[in-house]
């Protein structure tokens, strides 16, 4: 069977690629990606188990507290299976994962998958909200500054975005909390309101953390899109679009934006993966019950089963988003569409 990873643009006679061939291409891509992901997953999960195991402190002792006797600790260790060698525990874990069983938290006994799914909506909402906020700014700002490159607005945007890029996210988050939550009291500083309980309250509680995530994001994305746009605007086809008398907004949106979006899509795909993997710092700072918080808490509790569960989950999200990004390429640039091999 042939694997086609890089599309080969060939001069073909007419006939647009059919939807079926596009689906086939995506299927091929997914298969290749899955083959790549298995060794990566093994490496990453084993590494994370090793790390949790190597950090000082004993989960059994932590669970039982200061007053526990060594015998009690030993008994609990045996009960949790912690007395067996690392390799054995890892092997068992893998065997279970292969059957779709993520195991249970050694602390709360809650199934790991439940713990993840319980927190997923918070993280996803945060990630999507942050991405939407970023794009709402990025596209118009990049279009404007690229069109008027070197102008006053461009130089100002350049200063602001370089400032944002070099600011660590926790600092951005703290500043936002200080200004909007503590000084203006416009938004809550911490906590999470579930969307089912109070949709408006939910948005209010998500706003600041999403904005903190979006600010860094939008600074990077604006700079990338702006420079790609400037390159595209030099192209002949932009000149010929202008020569047709098309309005500037149309030339920018219809002719310049799409061919300039490759880096943007790549970066946005990666960062969405990163965000869904848990915005650790922001979720901790704002006390949001998302994946990031779950990860931090289970590391602190030395709950290796949960840590690995989250790691596997994040890896899968990454692969999925990568495939989506690839699909998006084929939409952006028809030249990368391959018909059946």
């Amino acid at each position: 069977m042939t694997q086609l990873t890089t599309p080969t643009p060939t001069a073909r006679p007419a006939a647009a690629p059919s939807a079926g061939s596009r689906a086939a291409a995506v299927g091929r891509k997914l298969r290749t990606r899955l083959l790549h992901i298995v060794p990566v997953l093994l490496l990453v999960t084993f590494g994370s188990m090793l790390l949790v195991d190597l950090t000082p402190g004993d989960p059994a002792a932590t669970i039982l507290g200061e007053s526990a006797t060594p015998d009690q600790v030993a008994a609990l260790r045996q009960q949790l299976g912690l007395d067996r060698p690392l390799f054995v525990r890892y092997g068992e874990w893998i065997a279970h994962i292969a059957q779709g069983d993520f195991g249970r938290s050694i602390r709360s006994q809650q199934p790991v998958l439940d713990a993840i799914l319980e927190r997923l909506p918070v993280t996803i909402e945060l990630a999507i909200l942050a991405q939407i906020m970023a794009f709402l700014v990025v596209i118009p700002l990049a279009l404007y500054t690229a069109y008027r490159a070197g102008g006053r607005a461009d130089r100002l945007a350049n200063v602001v975005t370089s400032g944002l890029v070099s600011m660590p996210p926790f600092l951005t988050a703290l500043l936002l909390v200080f200004v909007f939550a503590l000084s203006l009291r416009a938004f809550p500083a911490t906590g999470w309101v579930r969307i089912a309980d109070d949709p408006l309250g939910n948005l209010r509680s998500a706003f600041l953390p999403a904005l903190a995530l979006a600010l860094t994001e939008l600074a990077v994305l604006t700079r990338v899109l702006r420079s790609d746009l400037i390159a595209t605007l030099q192209e002949d086809f932009i000149l010929s679009a202008k020569a047709k008398g098309l309005p500037t907004w149309y030339v920018l949106l219809r002719h310049a934006l799409r061919p300039s979006s490759f880096s943007l899509v790549t970066l946005a795909g990666l960062s969405l993966g990163r965000l869904i993997g848990g915005a650790v710092i922001v979720e901790t700072l704002f006390a949001l019950p998302g994946i990031g918080q779950l990860l931090v808490n289970s590391i602190l509790a030395k709950d290796a089963v949960v840590v690995q569960g989250v790691v596997v989950f994040v890896a899968i999200v990454y692969v999925a988003l990568n495939v989506l990004t690839d699909v998006f390429y084929t939409i952006l640039d028809p030249r990368t569409r391959v018909t059946g091999a």
Partner: protein, 350 residues
Amino acid sequence: MSAMLEVTDLVTTFRTARGLVRAVDGVSFELDTGRTLAIVGESGSGKSVLARSLMNLLPSSADTSRGTAVYQGTQLRGQSAAALRRIWGDEISMIFQDPMTSLNPVVRVGRQITESLRFHRGQRGAAAQERALELMRDVGIPDPASRLSVYPHQLSGGMRQRVAIATALACEPSLLIADEPTTALDVTIQRQILDLLQRLQVEHGMAIILITHDLGVAAGRTDEVAVMYAGRIVEKAATPVLFSAMRHPYTEALLASIPRLENAVHTRLTTIGGRPPDLINPRRGCAFAPRCRYAQPRCLEEDPVLETATTVGHEVACFYPVDTEAGRAALSANSAAGVSAAGTTVRAAV
């Protein structure tokens, strides 16, 4: 009655890090409805900048303050962007050298053809599509219906240029500026595209400015030829007059260098000795003098202006025109000396 397009002393300069580039340096001509003017010159002689100056479609680094281009009574220079957009693509259209780069690779062919209809005529949807099919048939694209939805890379070079022409014709412009429309194409395809342009001109009654580096392209297809060198027109004449009695040594050299049909594509004009002049620091005297077989001391000191030559309507900027008494004397003196006044080697007979 005045001509459709009147260009007077047009100057376009660019401010660059190296200095001021004088890309178009005082060009004047007139063009009547339905006529074809060829603008011929080596690459770098300012043809594309001239074309863009006519449309006033230049980057902001260009200084366009000198000279005028008046299209049907409308001054194009100094016109607002919005007013220019109403003219671009509707009254005056343009086609470019390389149809692969001048068509947007990510926009379907049908849309690229119909875009200008949408903004100039408010035509969209089925009506626009109908018009696109008609245009595609008109420019000789077989099976147009199936090609509406393809992307440019799915078409051959010749088909792409036909698409570009269909795009330019969508709003029935009265002036078509074709900037080396066949340079990027195979020789046989070149001929087809030129024939197509000629047919379309007759059928649509539009004027064409045909820009080319190949005098052979101008022969037989155009009413008038203007030869450009270093941002200026150095000779201008009705096409038959130019080919039978060229007066400028540069034109003579260009004609001697016409690539023959069996030659490879993209043939560069290598047969003219020397390099095109530096447009940043123009030297004193005639810009062509360093490469000219006729050059005399006067050519290094004075700048010749465009003046009527032997026939009315035939203008040339040269002190020693080809096949005139002065010219013959200059050439024989240089041949005898083996060198021109500018120090260029001159072989006895050509």
